[in-house]
Symmetry: C2
Subunit: 241 residues, 2 copies
């Protein structure tokens, strides 16, 4: 019997790598989906490819489009990436690294793929605790998108498909970063393959130039704090620490 | 005083041209959004550009991505475009020209642009009467997406923005094709600039090759029926009639 397919959004960060391991561990035939959307930290796609290969996904697709057309985010280069913010600063308001409607766009493409695969299960590594104030990481957003998914597609109009309701799985949504790291470690995620930095720095290392994490953006700080709280050492290299 | 901005989804068909004219007529500063998504009828983008220019939009953006990556639709070339179907056949089930999750993707990009423009108004020319059975043209889908739009964005989490609820306007949703044509004519839409065909044919015409409507796909048949019921002549050329 063929395993049930699932579409897993994969950025190459430690959250999405953990989600991928969770979906694979549940026996899904994983279809990993990444995006080249004009992000300045495009090196995350190399991490996504490494993670997809190591965890043995069925297929990994990278969809291309350019959100720089619309602008409005530090992650697509229009604003500086904030550095060395305290936990208090991070918990206040929406940061410059927020990319307008990004998760809505990502989930829409996941939905398109899921529908062509006749697949009812989409996984996304959003997190509502250690998130940096992104509106599209909240449980109420995910619930609303799930409603859209079921109305937008064949499942919503064709008879006899009540049991094939599309579900958007968010296994990390209520975990702390430390818990995500511990969970990933238990599932065999090699954190050395992942990247989290919003503003990586190209440095000559050994046999050639290599992207190193900055160690100062919100995402690096949350990652480092998570490893510290989990009592583990982050295996990736940082340029600025 | 600067006019309020609106994002209008523009395919180049007569529905979206009419919606654009409606939004412009209501005084919005129109930002028209089209997509090169791997559609076989990519000539519709030429029509979109003509319509945008004629109706004097503030800006027209075409976003590129490739839905052929996922497959599953006649409009992206994986299945034949159905021809000469009766009204009864069209009203039964979801046709092969349905593109999985297309309107969800289109609206997600519209939302991204709207958010960077600080714009609360999105217009889309979906139609629930003369539509050909697409799940993502129904009022309940639009209502669910509007909910997502308001939870996904800054408007959903920042204080003091209750009056800036994002609205997805569907001025054509309960009109017949004949009514849309009559309405467009009254608003000065030049239907000769629009195209509706799912499977156009390149023919030598006068000074060079030109895309002509097939006259037999669902979209051509609905368009021709609409003009007949409106008592008007369709000004575009058909190859196959």
């Amino acid at each position: 019997m063929t395993a049930r397919p699932a579409v897993v959004l994969l950025s190459g960060g430690l959250d999405s790598a953990t989600v991928l391991a969770i979906a694979a561990g549940q026996g899904y035939r994983v279809h990993a989906l990444s995006f080249r959307y004009g992000q300045r930290h495009v090196h995350e796609l190399e991490a996504a490819a490494r993670v997809a290969q190591r965890l043995g996904v069925h297929r990994h697709v990278v969809v291309d489009f350019d959100l720089r057309t619309f602008g409005g985010s530090a992650l697509t280069g229009e604003l500086p990436v904030p550095k060395d913010r305290s936990a208090g600063e991070m918990s206040h308001g929406i940061p410059a690294t927020y990319v307008p409607a990004r998760n809505t766009i990502f989930l829409s493409f996941a939905l398109a793929w899921a529908e062509t695969l006749q697949c009812d299960d989409i996984f996304i590594g959003v997190n509502a605790l250690d998130y940096s104030g992104y509106p599209d990481c909240r449980p109420e957003f995910i619930a609303a998108f799930e409603e859209v998914a079921n109305l937008a597609t064949r499942a919503g109009v064709e008879p006899g498909t009540d049991d094939s309701r599309i579900r958007v799985h968010t296994p990390l949504i209520m975990l702390t970063k430390a818990e995500i790291i511990t969970r990933g470690r238990a599932l065999g995620v090699d954190h050395a393959l992942t990247t989290s930095c919003y503003d990586p720095i190209l440095r000559p290392v050994g046999d050639g130039p290599r992207w190193l994490a900055c160690g100062h953006c919100d995402s690096c700080l949350l990652r480092l704090k998570g490893f510290a709280e989990a009592g583990l050492t982050d295996p990736i290299a940082y340029a600025g620490r």
